[in-house]
């Protein structure tokens, strides 16, 4: 009796698995086609874009025109962004196919979040590239270089706080603190930058009076 029930349960489970598999087969087939298509499109697109960039010589032209040397290849970055776009479209299709419309909302949120992260990365890269170029041109002394780097780190940290999973009040107080810190730091620097000769003289005079 017990054996029969067990067998019946197994039979039901297997039937369910089999029926789910049968239902999934067309979806798997379509997913395969989507993946194959994605790979093909990426391959073709990469080939075409690389050929075009070979003619355009984008990195060379960018460096020549802007006099800014990026820490990465701009043409490779564009190829990568194009590939990412195709992959995301393909991934969205697969999510829609297997998980249904309710999960696509999650996917959209993930894409928005990814976009925010990417924008922070891009902005950081741009800021550091500009920072490098300014330092190269102005031949800034090491102490000043350190100070500028310090301020930039504060700014990047503020941007990173925005995308963390911390609670909103904590985020806002952290950002506020950082902003006040950056403001004071810039103010002190400005005072020193414009009045340091006067301040030096004044300090010297105070020391002389003390002695």
């Amino acid at each position: 009796m017990m054996d029969e029930e067990l067998l019946e349960t197994f039979r039901k489970i297997l039937t369910q698995i089999a029926s789910e598999t049968v239902r999934l087969i067309p979806k798997i087939f379509i997913a395969l086609v989507v993946v194959l298509l994605t790979v093909a499109v990426i391959k073709i697109l990469n080939f075409a874009i690389r050929k075009i960039f070979k003619v355009v010589r984008l990195d060379e032209a960018f460096e020549k025109l802007s006099r800014i040397s990026l820490p990465f290849s701009l043409s490779k970055a564009i190829v990568w962004i194009a590939d990412l776009g195709i992959a995301l479209i393909s991934f969205y299709s697969l999510v829609n196919l297997f998980l249904g419309a309710q999960y696509t909302h999650l996917f959209a949120e993930a894409v928005y979040y990814g976009a925010r992260l990417l924008s922070i990365v891009a902005l950081t890269i741009v800021i550091f590239a500009l920072f490098n170029s300014v330092i190269e041109k102005m031949k800034v002394e090491t102490r000043l270089k350190g100070y500028m780097f310090f301020i930039l780190l504060f700014l990047v940290t503020a941007m990173l706080i925005d995308v963390t999973a911390l609670s909103d009040p904590l985020k806002s107080s952290l950002t506020m603190g950082l902003s006040i810190g950056v403001g004071i730091s810039v103010g002190v620097f400005a005072v020193w930058f414009f009045f340091h000769e006067y301040l030096d003289k004044w300090l010297k005079r105070v020391e002389q009076q003390k002695t």
Partner: protein
């Protein structure tokens, strides 16, 4: 040997005699045909511009690959001679701008190649003295048959019913033209088979100065032709008869001038060239329309001298420049002058106070080029003219290289920007699709 040259010269003169009628009945009436089917100035300019460009391209190709001319010369000469004439059978059958442009371009292309072959035959088979003789006689023969052709054309235009008019006239012109093709079949051009052409030009500055002079001269002649008749008719209120007489008297004068100037030295031809520069001034300043017939005689007579100067100079350079390149260069010069004069003519239009001084300045420039830079014609010492010529050639060469380099850079930059835009457009498309999907 001498009888062979004599025979060749006579065939060429007879060919010109028949070709004159053919040209008057076909190309001479082509503008009237275009106007009759509703073409305005812009349409006509478009057709002429496309055709000039195509013939210039063909001539340029031949200059780069002159070997095409030196193999199977007679067969190619005959074929292009016949093709040029056959094109006119099709011309009146089409009405669309594109088709007319196509057939006229085809005609101009055949005409260019034929012009090169005929010049090659003349320059490659005859001495300088015979070239002068045959050029003058051909010009005179063509002038005479032109008059007969135009008379026949006017008669046919007046008496043939409208719908079949141009089919009949162009077909008749083609048939007469094909008779001249039959004459060409009797030419012996075996001496031109595998003719050698110098790979390197010995005195490029001389060829450059002469070509520059010739282009300027032909350009001035074309521009003068564009503005003069409308000026006499619209500004001076001359009658149709006077306008027609201008052309007729000019042709008659050129017939006589061809025979007068053919034996003259370059120094004498120089006088004709200098006097020719006065033509546009006279035409502009003389207010009596009837007097313009006399001016037409004067300008045609002197222009023939100036034109012969260019042709005879190339006949002289023949020895070291080669018949092949001389012939092609002369066709290129003719086409270039036509190509430049058409838009210039449109630009100055009916602004006669600008047009006539422009023509005068161009003619003066041509005279200055001849008397200052061409050693054979120069008023200064030959060695001085040669030095001037060399300086002008080198400066022009440097200028040309700079222009080519700048143009190349510009084209490359445009192409690169276009390519980059394509990539960015592809990126935009991808992310637009993604945005559309997730939102």
């Amino acid at each position: 040997m001498r009888s062979g040259v004599h025979r060749l010269k006579w065939i060429l003169v007879l060919e010109a005699l028949l070709a004159g009628v053919y040209v008057s009945l076909t190309r001479g009436l082509f503008l009237i045909f275009l106007v009759s089917i509703g073409y305005a100035v812009e349409g006509i300019s478009f057709v002429v511009l496309i055709a000039s460009l195509s013939s210039l391209a063909i001539a340029g190709f031949l200059y780069k690959h002159p070997g095409f001319l030196t193999h199977r010369v007679k067969l190619k000469l005959l074929a292009f001679h016949a093709f040029e004439r056959i094109t006119w059978f099709f011309m009146p059958l089409v009405q669309q701008s594109l088709m007319i442009s196509f057939f006229y371009s085809l005609y101009m292309a055949f005409s260019s190649v034929l012009g090169v072959f005929l010049s090659f035959t003349i320059y490659g088979s005859l001495s300088e003295k015979d070239i002068r003789d045959v050029t003058a006689k051909r010009a005179a023969a063509m002038g005479i048959s032109n008059i007969a052709g135009y008379a026949l054309g006017v008669f046919l235009l007046a008496f043939i019913p409208y719908q079949n008019k141009f089919i009949a006239i162009f077909s008749l012109g083609s048939v007469i033209g094909l008779f001249s093709t039959a004459l060409i079949a009797f030419l012996d051009v075996s001496n031109l088979e595998n003719a050698k052409f110098p790979e390197k030009v010995e005195q490029p500055e001389k060829v450059f100065s002469t070509s520059f002079f010739f282009v300027t001269l032909l350009l001035s002649g074309n521009l003068f032709g564009i503005v003069w008749t409308p000026y006499v008719m619209n500004e001076l209120k001359g009658t149709d008869f006077i306008a027609a007489s201008l052309s007729l008297s000019g042709t008659l004068a050129s017939i006589v001038a061809s025979l007068v100037w053919r034996e003259k030295s370059f120094k004498t031809l120089r006088i004709g060239l200098a006097f020719n520069a006065l033509g546009p001034l006279l035409a502009w300043l003389v207010p009596y329309p009837e007097a313009h017939i006399g001016i037409s005689v004067f300008t045609s007579f002197t222009f023939t001298a100036a034109n012969f100067m260019g042709t005879f100079l190339f006949a002289r350079y023949n020895e070291w420049f080669g018949a092949v390149k001389s012939s092609i260069l002369m066709v290129i010069i003719g086409n270039l002058a036509q190509l430049v004069s058409a838009p210039l003519g449109l630009l100055v239009g009916s602004n006669y106070t600008l047009a006539f001084p422009c023509v005068f300045a161009t003619k003066v420039a041509a005279t200055a080029l001849a008397v200052g830079f061409i050693p054979e014609v120069a008023v200064v010492r030959e060695d001085v003219a040669r030095t001037y010529s060399r300086i002008m050639y080198r400066n022009s060469l440097i200028g040309y290289r700079i222009v080519v380099e700048v143009s190349r850079e510009t084209v490359l930059a445009t192409f690169r920007l276009l390519a980059l835009s394509m990539v960015l457009a592809a990126l935009y498309l991808i992310y637009r699709v993604l945005w559309w999907l997730i939102s």
